[in-house]
Amino acid sequence: MSRATSIPQPAGADQPPNEAEAQSPSVRIIDARTAIDELIFAEDPWYALPLERQRELSDALIRQALREHLERCPSYRDYYARSGAAEPGAVALADIPLVSTRVFKFADLRSVEAHEVERWYRSSGTSGQPSRVPRDRASLERMVGSVHGSVGLLADWDEDEVAVINLGPGREHVEDVWFQYVMSLIEALYRSESRVPRDEAALDEIIGLAQSLLDDYEHLIVVGPPFHVLDLCEHMQRRGVELQAGEGATILTAGGWKRFGGRAIPKQEFRAVVARQFGLRGEGQVRDVFNQVELNTVLFECEAHEKHVPPWVHVAARDPETLQPVPEGEEGMLSYLDASCSAYPCFIVTEDVGVVRRGRCACGREGTRVDVLRRLESRAAKGCALKMGQIHANG
């Protein structure tokens, strides 16, 4: 499929359907193409593109998104003007003014009309003010596309062959908590069962369900936050259950390791425990995915346990004081420029510390990878968040 590899055309590339140019009264041309959607929903996966091509796409798509948000989001436009950044055609991606994720705790930042907002989603933090982020239809569809397009990093499954156990609430019980909402959408892709492992009885039921789905389906995916997966494994240990999934299961952790608290164990050890308890062929079948409410794209781990970043997202690790990108491979505050989001300017600096790598991954694919290591808890971070918070002052 050639569309994905053609250079996006910024001018007019994201216009509404052009229905004017009909050749004759009997023919209508409907042109709803946009460069970003052609990449996200391409037949061929983005991770098969050469690194240089990924860079070109990244540059063009993020600049296009920047122009659109400057046009549609007055608060961001003012903030951009005050920042002294060069005009959108000339600004380096690293110099695009960033919004602190803290801003979403109190500001109403959006680039679409109120009636275009499908819903405001919030972060799942248990303490403090949650972030609230709007999403429109296109942003939601692209988020789902980012999942669909990256599932290939796990395996090539037919939808009929796969069953999913989601260790969280099902669709009827999710409200506007983004993490739970995203997890519940898996049911639009695969046959899914949702169970919250809240007590022993629930854990017993999940074990029974896993056994029967392993019998009935070629592949079982168990997805949930790491602490729930660990609960399940420990419960299996207590019950003396060791599943024999072989190659027939993938355990997908999502939602971060933050709530592990005192129970945190190194990821390698975690993978070994899970692989043993499920009887997996290898630890490569235990993968992690990353997302946060302020980021529209879901990032998947490859078999080498590296999170690949698609070309419509630019990720950088930055010095917390200067906000300048640190040399590749060094730790810094993670920032993302995500062109898949039309609902708000998804040009964010987070409070996570991580490392960014570019080039060829151990899995053989070329591209950018990010390793999210921990939360930043220093004074510098808070100072930075305040500085970024200025977007709201005049917004």
Binding site: R3, S26, D37, E38, E43, D108
Partner: protein, 316 residues
């Protein structure tokens, strides 16, 4: 600051869908879904959606949702010997089985639901069947096709990379594999296609020369299986002002792949059905220069809720 719009976000309800089972005299059954608008207003009209080869009824969830949201009663069915819940296996499908299934459903709609006249919307392979049905039955008021096949043999050659229809029966492989997973027996399909004239482009053209219903055909400009030129040839637009082609830029045969294109297509298709439903002789003189704008558009959440509800119904 947070505004009222944040407070009112809640799950919107999906379209309501009921299942019926049409039991045939030979004991086989065809499963039919009926989706209705949620509003109390009288329905604007009735349409029947025919899924493409190998596609399940829930693959048409979004189309059904758009049509329901704009006032239509929507029926869908799974043909015999197909992938869904109706009797038989996909491996045994033939064009004539597809034709028989569509006829049975149209008869059932007239008999059981009093639907004397309706629109048919057919996708891919089922469009080839619908072209014949529309040329032979008078209760089809209008036809809308999406990536509809008009030259069966040529399309099959592109799909399988081999022109199996050129093989003598004894040299046919027992099965061919569709989309890497679905085994289809060849002998019954090929024999039927030869004997009942499904293969050539000429029979489609001849059937459409006899058909008098308005037709709107959506094609995808990057479709590797159905060529724009074949559809143009079959529709003979120059001599039929009651027909129109809508060409989707940037799409391949799978119209649902890119949601921006799918959305534009569903808006245009729903507008087309709204125009066609107003019916009457005046349409024969020519379709309006543009179709009306749709009145209501389902949200992402409504579409997702419907897909999930229909998926659950399918696997239960």
């Amino acid at each position: 600051m947070p505004t009222d719009e944040k407070a009112k976000s809640k799950l919107p309800s999906a379209v309501s869908t009921e299942e019926s089972v049409l039991r045939l005299e030979d004991g086989r059954q065809i499963v039919i879904w009926h989706s209705r608008p949620q509003s109390e207003e009288p329905v604007r009209g009735t349409v029947l959606l025919a899924p493409g080869f190998c596609a399940r009824m829930y693959s048409l969830a979004a189309m059904a949702a758009y049509l329901c949201a704009n006032g239509f009663a929507v029926y869908r069915y799974d043909p015999l010997d197909h992938r869904g819940p109706s009797s038989g296996e996909l491996a045994d499908f033939t064009m004539t089985t597809g034709r028989y299934s569509m006829d049975q459903v149209l008869d059932w709609l007239a008999r059981e639901r009093g639907v004397e006249s309706l629109g048919v919307i057919a996708t891919s392979l089922s469009a080839r069947i619908a072209y014949r049905v529309a040329s032979e039955r008078d209760n089809v008021a209008y036809l809308v096709t999406a990536v509809g096949v008009t030259h069966l043999r040529a399309t099959l050659e592109r799909v399988f990379g081999v022109d199996h229809m050129a093989s003598p029966p004894e040299q046919l492989p027992e099965t061919v594999v569709f989309e890497e997973r679905h085994h289809i027996r060849t002998l019954g399909f090929a024999t039927d296609a030869h004997e009942l004239g499904w293969n050539p482009a000429e029979t489609t053209r001849a059937e459409l020369d006899r058909a008098s219903v308005p037709i709107v055909a959506f094609i995808a400009r990057d479709d590797d299986w159905v060529l724009e030129s074949e559809v143009e040839e079959a529709l003979d637009l120059a001599n039929h002002p009651e027909r129109r082609m809508c060409k989707l830029e940037g799409s391949g045969h799978n119209l649902a792949k890119n949601p921006r294109i799918a959305q534009a297509m569903l808006r245009e298709l729903t507008g087309a059905v709204m125009a066609l439903e107003t019916g009457g002789e005046w349409l024969r003189a020519g379709l309006p220069p543009s179709f009306p704008a749709i009145e209501r558009e389902p949200t992402f959440e409504m579409l997702t809720a419907q897909v999930i509800a229909e998926r659950r119904r399918s696997v239960r």
